[in-house]
């Protein structure tokens, strides 16, 4: 177990380093450099700017500097907003994204799991068909379409909820619904199929044979085993919520990190793009690491060995 943990940790660090290197090189592969798209600047000023941002240092020097700064969790200055640092942007706007993301993930879990379990218990009955229909729609409708539909119906036509901006609870509802639609549908499908598989197992029959009540069978025996595959989905779900928030935050004008990221793409603000990518990758990789380490605790059938060939 300890060996596995160590190995997973080391490989995560290696991945992160690889990611940083790739993103760094990609950013420097952009033709013309970060300031070339702007208005005509005199060569002297250009030189000064490059001096200021250390852009005329040799590439390896810039890379070492970048790594050194990263190790202090310093992501550098924004190229577009004078005096703003990427760190400050993340510190200000990430909590907003985090709140929205947490609400969406909770929604997805709280709706998706019961819906999937119900569909499995009522397989091929109307409840199953309705849940499957809704979840298929949830998987196939792009989130920005759903978001605009929600705004159109609940904000513009019914005037029940605010159409944009950020504030109290009522501001969270529509964006969280739009963001949660895809993972909810996916969790429902996942829970349903793994629940069906579990319900066909012998130990469920044994439990029935023993005369256990339906509720005990469901919670103690079926659901706890059926949910194991759902745990593996946590990593991809977080990644999906994260990238989904780029669009949702832009549509709802929510001042979160996702919208900042999209704006920085429009502005070609390279340090922000680079910084946010690295930050998000770090987040997802750490989350995956945690999930991988918790996973075997949930299912004693999974044994961790450091020499797992596949």
């Amino acid at each position: 177990m300890l060996r596995y943990t160590l190995k997973r940790f080391v490989s995560s660090v290696v991945v992160l380093l690889a990611i940083i290197t790739i993103t760094f090189l990609l950013m420097h592969a952009i033709p013309g450099g970060p300031f070339s798209s702007e208005k005509k600047i005199s060569p002297a000023i250009m030189k000064n700017i490059e001096q200021h941002y250390h852009l005329n240092d040799p590439l390896w020097q810039q890379y070492i500097d970048y790594l050194a700064n990263l190790s202090r969790f310093d992501l550098g200055p924004s190229f577009k907003y004078e005096g703003r640092r990427v760190n400050d942007m993340i510190r200000e706007s990430f909590p907003v994204s985090l709140e929205l993301g947490m609400v969406s993930i909770s929604l997805a879990i709280l709706i998706g799991i019961p819906a999937g379990a119900l569909a499995a218990l009522r397989q091929n009955k109307w409840q199953d068909y309705i849940i499957m229909l809704l979840s298929t729609i949830g998987v196939s409708v792009p989130s920005f379409v759903l978001a605009t539909l929600l705004i159109y119906v609940f904000a513009l036509k019914l005037s029940l909820l605010p159409a944009a901006m950020w504030g109290d609870v009522e501001f969270v509802i529509l964006p969280a619904l739009a963001l949660a639609s895809h993972p909810t549908a996916f969790i429902a499908r996942l829970t349903r199929s793994s629940m069906l598989e579990v319900l066909a197992q012998d130990y469920i029959k044994t439990a029935r044979g023993k005369g256990l009540s339906q509720i005990v069978i469901l919670y103690r025996h079926a659901l706890s085993n059926a949910l194991i595959p759902v745990v593996t989905y946590i990593g991809p779900m977080a990644a999906g919520i994260l990238t989904g928030s780029f669009i949702i935050e832009t549509i709802f004008a929510i001042p979160g990190l996702g919208r900042h990221f999209v704006t920085s793409i429009y502005n070609r603000d390279y340090t922000v793009i680079l910084g946010v990518t690295v930050f998000y990758s770090l987040l997802i990789i750490s989350l995956n690491l945690v999930v991988d380490l918790i996973y075997p605790q949930l299912d004693p059938r999974i044994k961790l060995t450091s020499k797992e060939g596949g």
Partner: protein, 302 residues
């Protein structure tokens, strides 16, 4: 009555006595079972219709996707303009027809690149096995943990938006799943007797891979591809939304929808039609993919 005649041997030429039934190939068998799957067939025919529209639709339309007429801007759907017009007076029906061509080619080309990379990588890892396999699959496992969409975005920022670059970015980002599936298939197939037979006959690794192993892994490969196409269309829509899609005046469904989003308050139909197009295509491919999974998966083969 039992008599001697009943026990007489048949003549070799007596055809009526030879009971045969037509040999069903894997493909025929799969097609038969796909046909039993109602939703999958709905998906299949929808996909066929969408593809036909994408190929011949723009030929038979009377105007071009880029024809502007500002006098006709933002018109509601009518007999003249079935889906209405956009803010530059371009016919939205024709733009959606052209969008089908662009969105579908993005889906198909990107998943073909995935297919090629995944099959080569997974094939080599599965066939060689041992240490090579461990290292190659270790790399895939590691890459799997990375939020790929971020890197597609990064790549598009570096490469500049455009159709070819979308092909490249999507193609090289999403082959990991295919590699895993192909490798798993090959790992189990290569222990089969016919591979041993081929090897005894002196077939090289490469011949075994592409004459025996890959054709026999076709089922899961087709399923993965069917589900990769809508995924790529989806991702392209996402990229268009953040301004990294195909360049104007070309328009994929993603570009059309994101244009529609901006004018939602006044002209909701401008979002409705391209969004419907994306959703119907997604649904069709998902139905087809689910049906194919049932039809092609050897484990459920009856």
């Amino acid at each position: 009555m039992v008599n001697r005649q009943l026990f007489e041997p048949l003549l070799a030429s007596d055809q009526a006595a030879v009971q045969t039934r037509p040999i069903t190939t894997y493909g025929q068998d799969a097609w038969r079972r796909l046909k039993e799957h109602k939703l999958a067939m709905v998906g299949f025919y929808t996909v066929v219709v969408i593809m036909l529209i994408a190929v011949i639709g723009p030929w038979i339309s009377h105007a071009s996707y880029s024809d502007q007429n500002l006098m006709l801007a933002n018109q509601a759907p009518s007999g003249e303009h079935w889906f209405g017009t956009d803010n530059l007076g371009r016919d939205l029906f024709i733009r959606v027809l052209y969008g089908a061509r662009i969105s579908l080619s993005i889906g198909i080309v990107a998943s073909l690149i995935n297919l090629t990379l995944g099959v080569i990588y997974g094939g080599i890892a599965g066939l060689l096995g041992g240490r090579v396999d461990r290292i190659m699959m270790g790399i895939v496992d590691v890459l799997y943990g990375i939020p790929m969409l971020l890197y597609v975005i990064l790549l598009m920022v570096v490469l500049q938006p455009g159709l070819t670059n979308i092909f490249i970015a999507l193609g090289i980002a999403y082959w990991l799943g295919m590699a895993r599936i192909v490798r798993g298939q090959i790992l189990s197939l290569k222990e089969q007797e016919y591979v041993l037979a081929a090897r005894t006959l002196g077939a090289s690794n490469w011949q075994i891979l592409y004459r025996h192993l890959i054709p026999n892994s076709m089922g899961p490969i087709i399923i993965t591809m069917t589900l990769a196409i809508p995924e790529a269309i989806f991702t392209e829509a996402f990229l268009s939304f953040i301004g990294l899609g195909v360049a104007a005046p070309m328009a994929s469904w993603g570009v059309l929808s994101s244009e529609g989003v901006t004018s939602l308050r006044s002209y909701p139909f401008q979002l409705f039609f391209p969004a419907m197009a994306i959703s119907i295509t997604m649904l069709a491919f998902i139905f087809l993919g689910d049906g194919l999974r049932d039809a092609l998966d050897p484990r459920t083969r009856r």
